[in-house]
């Protein structure tokens, strides 16, 4: 799995590609989220457009990212998940934990007025 990062205003977008399935991926995502939080960014969007599938370990990685962000005053949202990943989200009800957006602009705009996600 590859990770790219991009700050758009006060929102940090983390773009993942490949498959999210555990192993070293878990540490990489967690360290990325922690690094972003340590820079003072609290609004994080994980872009799953180029992730073809996620297994239960990958879901755990996303859940850990959510918990890490929440514990540090931040918030993680998701965008551009495939139909296949969406089916796993529906079954496991993670769609009730994460806000998921189809479009990047909608994901970024969703933070407006979100006190939890203020930078610094």
């Amino acid at each position: 799995m590859k990770i790219k990062q991009e700050a758009i205003g006060d929102v940090y977008v983390v773009r993942l590609s490949g498959q999210l399935m555990g192993g070293p991926d878990a540490d990489s995502v967690r360290e990325t989220i922690l690094s972003i939080l340590n820079q003072g960014y609290k609004k994080i969007v994980i872009d799953l457009k180029d992730v073809s599938w996620v297994n239960s370990t990958g879901l755990g990685i996303l859940m850990s990212a959510h918990i890490t962000a929440t514990q540090n005053g931040g918030i993680v949202k998701l965008m551009r998940i495939s139909r296949r990943i969406d089916s796993i989200f529906m079954v496991t009800r993670l769609n009730t934990v994460f806000q998921v957006f189809d479009k990047e602009e909608d994901a970024i705009a969703s933070f407006e007025g979100d006190v939890t996600g203020q930078k610094n």
Binding site: G60, I88, T96
Partner: protein
Amino acid sequence: MTLPQCDFPADRSIVFQMPSRLELLVVVDQLVQAICHDMDFDRDDTDAIANSVIEAATNAVQHAHGHDVMRPVVFRFLLGDDELQIEVTDTGPGFDLEEVSALDPTGPEGILKSRGRGIFIMKAMMDRVDFDIQMGTGTRVCMAKSRRPAEGGDGA
């Protein structure tokens, strides 16, 4: 000692073996996609089957074999007329299915856990899921999914 194999007829079976390496799940996914395409499963059922086989394989690689590449995971596919049966076999120590399944991963306590969703996903996405657990010897996960009649077909 190994688990006894099911009696799959050779002319309708596909057998695949891989080392316990998570990155090879990509190969498993491709194989399942090809089998489902050959059997005319629709997109949603293909995804469900692929997700379930990957969950079984993930458990075998991570929990049963501890990523030991010298311990292979074996996949057997039986391509029936209207049903795909799949076995995923490991040589791990086994586990307590009741204990593992005790916590509902969609409940208020379970949903925030980072683990414990694999078996739940398999059971939710397949028609049948059975576990043959031989403590100290290995586990065989047996799953099946039937092909749904095409919309507007004979049954409509």
